[in-house]
């Protein structure tokens, strides 16, 4: 007997399921300015590399008339494919099928591909576009979320997990992205919140739009929940692919090496930084003047701009950068910037990416709001993350390194492997003005011309402490370098650190100041 009939039957079944929620629902999706789930998957993956599983899964809902409904694939697509030839696991919620709502089988499909990703040690990309829990399935849908969150946590630090928010992601659903490494949002399309505007209005009487409550801008600028912000889905997919060029496929492997390239000649390191420590400049230009091809891929660009984090390559290999940004809030450390840096440091440490810290900051941000928001426990995260990190850790002090910030920013005391300082570096307990006002208070107050005496004392303090040589004399700084030597010193120090072995005491896990 010929197989033909069976094959035709399979094709017919597939064709039916591949329609998702059907023509009308697809039209609605397109009208919202969104791609369909399948289009998204195929746009992210290499051409013709996608293979789908669980296409014939059917939902489990048996109440409220749901048993009569057919939900193709139960509203989620799962499968494997490649990006730049390397394998990845992917799932995409299909909003055209029951609003992408999450029921038991929907969740089982997601957890199946998550288990697969973890076992196969490949990155997991999750595309979220869902109205939330499928209320008709009751506690089963809650169980589904729980199973996903648990796997997110298990996979954390083993394989990269990327969450792409391309539609609503509300209620409990937001906690899966929050547990993953990188969250991508797109203007006008992404919406994330725990409680939506409707509920907020009826229960609390506060009126706010979805966009203002949890749109892409809000999460990339105010909450810090999103790491990458794009204006279109296609731009978002490019960001995903670019990120994947920088990160390793799992925690037992190095990121792919690229042919080394020199930085572009237009980034002239000596012309970027003003000698006067009160004058601003863009630290990203300093990073671009030391990384290969001046290609710096920034993470969380729009959140807590006073610290800059991101990936670059040196001698073709991925390096993580953490740098104070004097151009924004003078580069101070505060609650947000501490959270931002600490998480990135832990990411790099988990995935064996060397860390380069560029330091130029006047200390922690003073203010009641900061103190009451808990700048103590937030700031402590940086100390914890740097101390815990055992990847190669190199610091370059460019200008200011004052007080607690000096200690926090990967100082020798946090066990930096190499500490370099520019001749413009000022390593001190605080800025010269503040210090002189305290040390010489009596003399300044007693003087006939207090301002003149203050200026004199500030100058005296500056001459004594506002330089790298006091710290260098104690060995806290390994060497004072000329700005032009920075790239070579970084290349060399990363090279000699390539077999670094650094152990920490055995423990189940530490207790970081979450």
């Amino acid at each position: 007997m010929s197989l033909k009939r069976n094959i035709l039957d399979l094709r017919k079944r597939k064709e039916k399921v591949l329609q998702g929620g059907g023509e009308k629902a697809i039209q609605k999706q397109v009208a919202m300015g969104k791609l369909t789930a399948r289009e998204r998957v195929t746009s992210i993956l290499d051409e013709d590399s996608f293979h789908e599983y669980d296409l014939f899964v059917e939902h489990e809902a048996r109440d409220f008339g749901m048993e009569k409904k057919e939900l193709h694939g139960d509203g989620v697509i799962i499968g494997t494919g490649t990006i730049y030839g390397e394998p990845v696991c992917i799932f995409a919620q299909d909003f055209t099928v029951a609003g992408g709502s999450l029921g038991l089988m929907h969740a089982r499909k997601i957890t199946k591909i998550m288990d697969h990703a973890l076992k196969m040690r490949v990155p997991l990309i999750g595309i979220n576009d869902s109205g939330g829990a499928r209320i008709q399935e009751g506690v089963n849908s809650l169980a589904g979320y729980g199973e996903i969150f648990f796997r997110n946590t298990l996979a954390s630090g083993v394989i990269p997990q990327l969450s792409v928010i391309l539609g609503p992601c509300a209620g409990g659903a937001v906690y899966s992205p929050a547990l993953t490494d990188f969250v991508f949002v797109v203007e006008n399309i992404s919406k994330m919140f725990i409680t939506g505007p409707e509920v907020i209005k009826t229960v609390l009487g506060e009126e706010i739009s979805m966009e203002e409550l949890g749109g892409a801008k809000v999460h990339s600028e105010i909450t810090g929940n999103a790491h990458f912000y794009a204006l279109s889905e296609y731009e978002c997919f490019e960001q995903i692919k670019k990120l994947l060029t920088f990160i390793p496929w799992h925690n037992g492997k190095k990121a792919k090496a690229f042919p080394p390239k020199p930085p572009k000649p237009e980034f002239k390191i000596e012309e970027i930084v003003p000698a006067d420590p009160t004058q601003p400049y863009d630290i990203r230009n300093v990073i671009k003047s030391v990384v290969d091809d001046s290609d710096f891929f920034e993470v969380m660009e729009n959140f807590a701009g006073n610290i800059v984090i991101g990936f670059g390559r040196m001698n073709g290999e991925t390096v993580g950068f953490v740098a104070n940004q004097p151009m924004v809030l003078a580069g101070v450390l505060d609650c947000d910037s501490s959270d931002k840096a600490a998480r990135f440091i832990r990411y790099c440490d988990a995935f064996d990416i060397p860390l380069v810290t560029l330091e130029d900051m006047p200390g922690y941000l003073p203010g009641v709001d900061q103190e009451h928001m808990g700048v103590i426990r937030h700031g402590a995260k940086i100390l914890y993350a740097y101390s815990e990190a055992t990847v190669p850790k190199i610091t370059v002090i460019i200008r200011k390194a004052y007080g607690g910030g000096y200690i926090a920013m990967n100082s020798r005391h946090m066990k930096a492997d190499f500490m370099f300082a520019w001749p413009t570096a000022e390593i001190a307990v605080m800025g010269p003005e503040g210090a002189a006002n305290i040390i010489f208070r009596k003399e300044i107050m007693a003087a006939e011309d207090p301002d003149a005496v203050r200026r004199e004392k500030v100058a005296e303090y500056k001459a004594k402490f506002a330089n790298p040589y006091v710290a260098a004399a104690k060995g806290y700084i390994d060497t004072v370098i000329e700005p032009l030597e920075t790239r070579n010193m970084l290349l060399h120090s990363i090279e000699v650190s390539s077999n670094k072995a650094d152990r920490r005491p055995q423990k189940k896990h530490g207790i970081p100041p979450f």
Binding site: V203, L204, G205, E206, E221, I222, P277, T278, Q279, P280, D282, A304, G305, N306, P326, M327, V328, L329, A330, G331, V332, D336, P362, G363, L365, P366, G367, V368, D369, H372, Y402, M430, G431, P432, E433, G434, A435, N437
Partner: protein, 102 residues
């Protein structure tokens, strides 16, 4: 670069941009114990007191229902009700001045 402002850290003035979040931060104000403010957004379901009434510490002033919980707002110390800014049935946002005491 955006708008550069002078920014004081420990007496040194730095030239730098500010962030939207920083500029929109709430300034701290010393709380006035004579002002009863809502601690959660919700609905005033019942008011027990009138303006001018003498009330002892611990006595109920009103019920603020929020998140399906009826919260009894109590008088913090002995005093007289100076002004009531809410009526029964109104929805109140968080930190709204509801009642003043003399």
């Amino acid at each position: 670069m955006g708008k550069i402002t002078e920014f004081d850290i420990d007496g040194t003035l730095y030239q730098t941009e500010l962030t939207k979040k920083f500029e929109n931060r709430k300034m701290w104000k010393k709380p006035d114990p004579k002002q009863i403010k809502s601690f959660i957004p919700g609905t005033i379901v019942e008011i027990f007191v009138k303006e001018g009434q003498k009330v002892k510490a611990g006595e109920g002033l009103m019920i603020l229902e929020a998140m399906k919980m009826k919260n009894r707002i109590e008088m913090p110390f002995d005093g007289i009700i100076k002004k009531i800014h809410v009526t029964e049935g109104v929805k109140v946002p968080n930190r709204l001045l509801m009642l003043e005491i003399e």
